[in-house]
Symmetry: C2
């Protein structure tokens, strides 16, 4: 198909498609004449993936380029690629070197050991967790971590189990890698939105909401 048809099918303007090609996110079309290129279904699919990572995942153009390079790299063994999803998307971690950061790192190492997780404490998601815990500590909400960390870890294990079951269903490594990327980035958006929905419901039950009638069981001060 011509670039105009690709634009029509995906809703992405022609100028934006050309920008993605220049930035190396989207492979160039096959030249059919000196100034005309043909695109196919793989371009359409890739374009939808770029838009999803950009609009819903909130990734930057340069992060998307890194992610797609890894998707296209067939030389990596499956477990490396799966582990990579955490690396490539998180980017280089930068935990500051203050007492809050040191305490947070110890805490993450303790959590990993306690749960028997086969993860290096210096891996990018472990560093990202330490940075988030340190940030909570610095704003005086370190006690939030005490209150929620184990329950959060339980929930993360449950979610990761169903994610991996989904990934495991894909036959080819190519499909599997894409499903990891999609599941990591868009799954995070799904989980975050669900958590906020559940917050609204829980606070409506607990504190009463203007727009919604109170729960039948009363003020709900001790209800879940």
């Amino acid at each position: 198909m011509r670039i105009g048809e690709l634009s029509r099918r995906t809703g992405v303007p022609v100028a934006t498609i050309k920008y993605y090609v220049r930035e190396g996110l989207l492979p160039a079309g096959r030249l059919t004449s000196p100034n005309q290129a043909a695109y196919d279904d793989t371009h359409e699919h890739r374009l939808r993936l770029i838009r999803a990572l950009l609009d819903v995942g909130g990734l930057s153009v340069s992060s998307i380029r890194d992610v797609l390079e890894a998707v296209d790299d067939r030389t990596q063994p499956v477990h490396e690629v799966l582990g990579w999803a955490a690396k490539g998307i998180l980017g280089p971690a930068g935990v500051a070197a203050d007492p809050a950061a040191a305490a947070a790192r110890d805490r993450v190492a303790g959590l990993i050991e306690r749960r028997g997780w086969q993860v290096a404490p210096e891996s990018p998601p472990a560093e990202a967790l330490a940075e988030a815990l340190a940030a909570l500590d610095r704003v005086g909400h370190g006690v939030f971590v005490d209150a929620v960390l184990e329950d959060y870890a339980d929930a993360a294990e449950d979610v990761a189990r169903v994610d991996l079951e989904y990934v495991g269903r894909h036959g080819s490594v190519e499909d599997m890698v894409e499903s990891v990327v999609v599941g990591t980035v868009l799954g995070e958006a799904v989980l975050a939105a669900l958590r906020r929905l559940a917050h609204v419901h829980a606070s409506a039950r607990r504190y009463g909401a203007a727009a919604v009638p109170p729960a039948a069981d009363g003020s709900g001060a001790h209800s879940s």
Copy 2:
């Protein structure tokens, strides 16, 4: 304290502090002479909160301004403020009007009804969820949603319950509002990092990892 001391304590450069004051994120110091201002602990605390929302939460300067305005607005009743956290941080939702979006909205409405959540289907987190589900559908991973949505919703309910218990512990509305903001934004970063850690562990068990010895129970093809 002078601005240099505030900078030293928080690690935020003086020029950056001045920028936050100009942008309305941080209240100006109390003028002690025509070109000298005094800052106190409330400035230090606010500055740490700004950095946490920026660095770990990944919010933009304009989102942070909106969030802090709501934190400072004492006229709102508690449940409005709690519900607001989802609104203010998510920003205006923009779900496209294609068949994937319509199907996703129906799906979200069904989920809310099935779970008995007291949330309007047109509320911002519901729209954000619909947008994420539609994006998954558009990239051909709609089946991911079938596979994981109910388990994700279970996990979100568990997490929201412990979040609300934490928020409920705070006596003053001021503290409560801040804990909602911090818990929403930084809690999301904590949960996302934990999910990625749990992914690495689950894939190491399932597919074997180069850097980590295999689990004692063997290949782990059917282990959680």
